[in-house]
Structure formats: C-alpha cells, structure tokens
C-alpha cells in the first residue's frame, strides 16, 4: 500500500520536502548534541527535564486521544465516526514514534536504551511506560493495517481484529495514566504529587487530540477529496467541549487545594506560573495566554451556536490545542522542578539546538501522518472511482 504515498501532486511533494528539510537541520543539531552532550540544552542540575520530556508527555496524550473516536465507533456502534476512525488510529502511530524519539534524544546514553528490557524493573514507572507505549504502538499498527487492508479489498475486517480493537480502548487510558504516574508518584515534587494528575492528563488529552483531529479533517477537505462530513465533526466538537470543561474544572480544583490550604511548597509553583517567583517570570506570559485561550475555547465550544459555525469551531479548536500545549507541553514539567527541593528558584530556557531538535521531531511526526493519511485516503478514493 506504500506505493500510494509515492504518488502525489506538486503541493504534496513540496510539503514532504519542507518536512524533510526541517528534519535534516534538526538531525545535524542532534549530531552536535550527541557529540557534546545534553549540556547543549538549557537543562541543568536543578531542572533536569525540560522541553523534550514535556513534548513526550503531551504526545502520549495525543496518542491516547484516538480512543475518543475508536470507543464510540466500535463499542457503541456509532456509525457517523466510520470515516474518521481510521484517521484517529493512524494518528497514534506518529504520536508514539515521536514520544519514543523525544525520550531517546533526552537520554544521556541512548545506546544503552535496551538496558530497560535487559533489566526489567517492575518498581519503576518508566519501565511500565515503555511497555504500555510499545504495546499500544503495536496494537495500532496491527489494527490500522488490517482495517485498511480490508477496506482496500472491500471486505469486512476479519473477526479476530475486534478483540484487539476492544483491548486498545483500555490500553489508551493506560498509556496516559502510567505517564502521569511517572510524575505523580514522586514525593520530591509537590507540584506533581496529586492524585488528579492522571485524570487531568486524560481530560486534557481527550480535548487536545480530538481538537487536532478536527483541524486535520478541515485541512484534508482542502487538500484532498476526503470530506469527513459536518455531523461527525460536530460530534467530535462535543467531545472536545466536555473534555476541555472537565480539564479546566480539574485545574481549578488543583488551584483551590493549593491556594486554600496555603501550604508554601504547593502555593509557590502556582505563583511561579502566573505571577513569577524571585525574578523568574519566564512562564508568566505563556500561562496567561493559555488561560485566556482556555476561556475563549470554552465560551465558543459550550455555546451551540458558535460551535456549529465551522470557522468559529476551527478557532475554538486551535485555541484549545494551543492552550493545552502550553499547559502540558511547556509548563507542567518545568514547574515541577521550580522551586528546587532546596528552595532555590533555578531558571530554564530551551536553547536553539534544543528547540530545533524538537521541531525536527514534530516534522518527522507530520511526515509520518502525511504519508499514512495519504495511503488511507488514496485507498478510499480508488474505491470511490
């Protein structure tokens, strides 16, 4: 089926080349990082995780969010998602691959990565995260391949795939739960030490992922003959609405507990994010932008009139996605480290190489998603002819 990805118009190839270009630049910077060490990043002794691990965390959410189309379609037989489901399943593959690449570029000794499998360590959440992510990737490769192959041959998918699809539903929840457990089980970091971290991760993922899917569908309608249809997008928009509402609610709950209890080591993190702490205010503008975008998204999404208006929906979905990216792909990880366990307020700013390497990984994800969507849509178009 890969041959479908090798046939495209000029616009398709320029997009592919642009992505490849970014990837090459990023790879050159990665070579520099590989020879110099992670000192090339803005990370340091007090903030040992930053942009890379934050992107990993955010993208696990995007991967998990495909369950928001898979679950209604396969469990509730929600036919309207018929055309969308494969797009959701295919989105998992680049997301998990990006997650893995972000972890690898963050490792001090990437050549030793197999140590995780050679010395399996059940008491480490990172071991479990690797296991659940690997299996989730495998499940989705199998599912999307079999389903697409059946569609190409115009036959129903084989019966044995259904239990695998059903298994992928709780598995999606598990990947983001275990990813939250990486953080929420650390006594050293009061900011993450909260039982609602996993539910919040899920809520923000189930808002950001479907919002991205809506945006992808709108783009696909422009650049291909694929039209997801108005009704399925509206259903997705309702899912985004509920998930975003739950996410903002959980965030406010979090802020209440920290502020009302007034325990300094909890309050200080929120101070850092929204007002700055001891001269460190680099997150403040980001956090207020995220807050404004979250409110804007909620207003536009909850009101049925604005939600049904597609240009407004596009705006609302973009606002949701950007707001959640700032929250999870930027602030969540860094804030956990500031103030440090010794009450110092270290500074962290991603460097140019670090940012470009991250961009390159995103470009590789976009490349994979482009190729996969091209294949899936070509199969459909061929059938339609």
């Amino acid at each position: 089926m890969l041959e479908y990805a090798l046939r495209g118009d000029r616009r398709y190839w320029s997009w592919i080349c642009a992505l490849l270009g970014i990837m090459v630049v990023a790879f050159l910077f990665y070579l520099r990082q590989a020879s110099y060490g992670l000192g090339i990043t803005g990370l340091g002794r007090d903030v040992p995780w930053g942009l890379y691990i934050a992107q990993f965390t955010f993208l696990v959410g995007v991967a998990a969010s495909s369950v928001m189309v898979v679950l209604p379609y396969y469990l509730h037989d929600f036919r309207e998602f018929g055309k969308l489901t494969i797009l959701g399943e295919l989105l998992v593959i680049p997301s998990i691959i990006m997650c893995m690449v972000f972890v690898i570029v963050d490792m001090g000794q990437p050549s030793r990565i197999l140590n995780v499998l050679l010395y399996p360590t059940p008491h480490s959440m990172m071991f479990w995260d690797m296991v659940v992510l690997g299996v989730y990737l495998l499940l989705n490769i199998i599912i999307s391949r079999v389903v697409l192959d059946a569609e190409r041959k115009s036959i129903p998918p084989p019966g044995w795939i259904r239990p695998i699809i059903i298994l992928s539903i709780p598995w999606a929840f598990s990947i983001h739960t275990v990813t939250a457990f990486l953080y929420s089980g650390l006594a050293a970091r009061p900011f993450w030490l909260t039982a609602i971290l996993a539910p919040r991760f899920l809520a923000s993922a189930f808002a950001a992922g479907p919002a991205l899917l809506i945006l992808f569908c709108v783009i696909l309608r422009k650049v291909s003959r694929f039209d997801a249809g108005h009704a399925p997008l509206q259903k997705l928009a309702v899912i985004v609405t509920y998930a975003m509402t739950v996410n903002v609610f959980l965030m406010l709950v979090e802020i209440f507990t920290a502020m009302y209890s007034d325990i300094p080591e909890h309050v200080r993190h929120f101070q850092l994010m929204y007002f700055g702490l001891e001269g460190n205010a680099s997150l403040v503008p980001w956090m207020w932008v995220a807050a404004v975008l979250a409110v804007l998204a909620l207003v536009l999404l909850i009101n049925p009139r604005t939600r049904r208006n597609e240009p407004v929906l596009i705006l609302a979905c973009s606002a949701t996605f950007i707001s959640l990216w700032i929250d999870k792909g930027l602030a969540m990880v860094i804030t956990g480290f500031i103030p440090s366990p010794l009450a110092a307020v270290p500074k962290y700013r991603p460097t140019v190489p670090e940012t470009l390497i991250s961009l390159g990984i995103y470009a590789s994800g976009l490349l994979i998603v482009t190729v996969l969507y091209k294949i899936a849509l070509s199969v459909r178009e061929r059938l339609a002819v």
Binding site: Y36, L38, R45, T121, S124, S340, L342
Partner: protein, 259 residues
C-alpha cells in the same frame, strides 16, 4: 513458492531485525572488568547500616572551611565546570534554611543565620532514586549505601527528579577536561550518566573512613554503624538531639544533623 513484493520486504525486514539480536546482546551483555581494590590496604570496614552524623555547631565554628568538599571532590575526580548549569557536586554547603526548607525558619539563632551546613546524599533507607531507576543502575547495598552503576545508567535522570534532596548530578558534557588533578585510583565518568556521593565505598573496602570524615579537622563528621549499639555514632545520637532532612517524606535519611 511464489512471494509478492510486500511479503518479501516483510520477511527481509524481520530477518534484518534478527541479525541485530546477536550484536545487540554482545554490546550489552559484556561483563565489566572488576578491579580488585581491596588488595591495597588494611581490613575492609563493614557495617549493618552505615550512617553519618554532622555536628552542626562544630561545623558552623569553622567558617568558610571547605576541607571536606575539596577532599571529596579530589579523590572522586569530580569536575569543576565553573558554571551552575553544568555543575556536578557530591558534597557541598547550603545555608541552614535551604538544607531544611520545610522548617520555614523564622528566628534562627544568630550563629545559624546565613550559615552553611554540608549536604550530600542521605543514603536513605527507603531511597526514591532506587525505586524509580528503570534499569536498577542505582541500587542499595545490604549495608544501606546507595550507589550508581555508571556503566548501566542510561542517563534518563528520573532519579534526579525523584531525589527530594537535590543530591544527584548529571554529566551534561564530557567531565574529564574539567578535572584539575585526575586521581588514577578512582574512575572518571563519561558524559550522559548520573553520579553522587557514595559514602566512599571504595575507601571502606580499603579500611579507610570516608574522605570527608578524614579531612574534617574539627571532627564534625562521625561515620559509623547505626545497628551497632556500641558505635560512636549511636553514642552521639543518644546524647544529642539530631534532625534529618525532610523526614516527613518517609525516605528515612541516614545523615543526621546534630543541633
């Protein structure tokens, strides 16, 4: 038997993966050479539970003293980068209220104010770093000492995120050019791995006390077996009040600060 192109690629791909198995195991399966360091000196020191006690007042009297730090960093080839971002430190001094931030001190006695105390790995009884390490590179010995196998460490820095005391450092870049006098008796590290205080396991096997204890002219540091009721450290803890860093987290630190 006829195969189509796709099947061929699939089999070829799997076969290529298969080829990678043996070299993979060869790379990762190599046993590390063990240097027998016990041959050099006297009888190895052993204990059921090693612990350290720091007489804070004794230490405060020696303003600006850095003997323990210099000794530690010299014998362990700890590099000096001269900037806080790349910094690696095993033993250092922190202001009293930074070492014990959860105390939220308001009116410290004058001699404590703006004073510094030595801090290093607490060799916790219930170490979070050991719990989170995905490859068991950081582990706890039977005598309680927590150390890191720098040949196994993958450099994920999860242990640094998990340590409530900021005791761990990462080699952000090649440390060797930044070691002033390399001591050939102790290994240098490579970039991309985590390191910290080891309670001088290599010296204990030679019958020597930890370098910081030996270097402290004021005898502020006492190292001994906590399980031995007759040990010096137990006697000290019986007579004087000692506090530990962040005891509420349940890590059970084995470094005691005698007030």
């Amino acid at each position: 038997m006829s195969i189509d192109r796709r099947t061929f690629f699939r089999i070829a791909g799997l076969a290529t993966l298969g080829l990678a198995i043996k070299p993979g195991f060869e790379v990762f399966g190599q046993g590390e050479d063990v240097v027998d360091s016990t041959a050099a000196m006297g009888r190895p020191l052993s204990a059921k539970r090693w612990a350290m006690a720091i007489d804070v007042r004794c230490c405060l009297d020696q303003k600006d003293c850095r003997k323990c730090i210099l000794a530690c960093h010299q014998v362990h080839n700890v590099p000096d980068f001269g900037n806080p971002k790349d910094e690696i430190k095993w033993l250092w001094k922190e202001p009293f209220d930074r070492a014990f931030p959860e105390q939220e001190f308001q009116h410290l006695p004058e001699d404590f104010e703006r004073q510094v105390v030595p801090v290093f790995c607490n060799h916790c009884d219930s170490p979070p770093c050991v719990r989170v390490c995905p490859v068991q590179a950081t582990f706890q010995r039977d005598d309680g000492i927590v150390i890191t196998d720098q040949h196994r460490c993958i450099g994920c820095r999860y242990c640094m995120a998990a340590c409530p005391y900021g005791s761990r450092s990462f080699n952000w870049r090649d440390p060797r050019p930044f070691i002033k006098n390399i001591d050939p008796k102790y290994p240098t590290r490579t970039r991309g791995v985590v390191e910290k205080c080891t309670f001088c396991v290599e010296r204990l096997t030679q019958g020597l006390m930890p370098a910081c204890v030996e270097a402290c002219a004021a005898h502020a540091l006492t190292f001994g077996d906590l399980e031995d009721a007759g040990s010096e450290i137990r006697g000290l803890l019986r007579r004087r009040l000692a506090i530990r860093r962040k005891p509420g987290l349940g890590t059970n630190p084995e470094v005691y600060y005698i007030i």
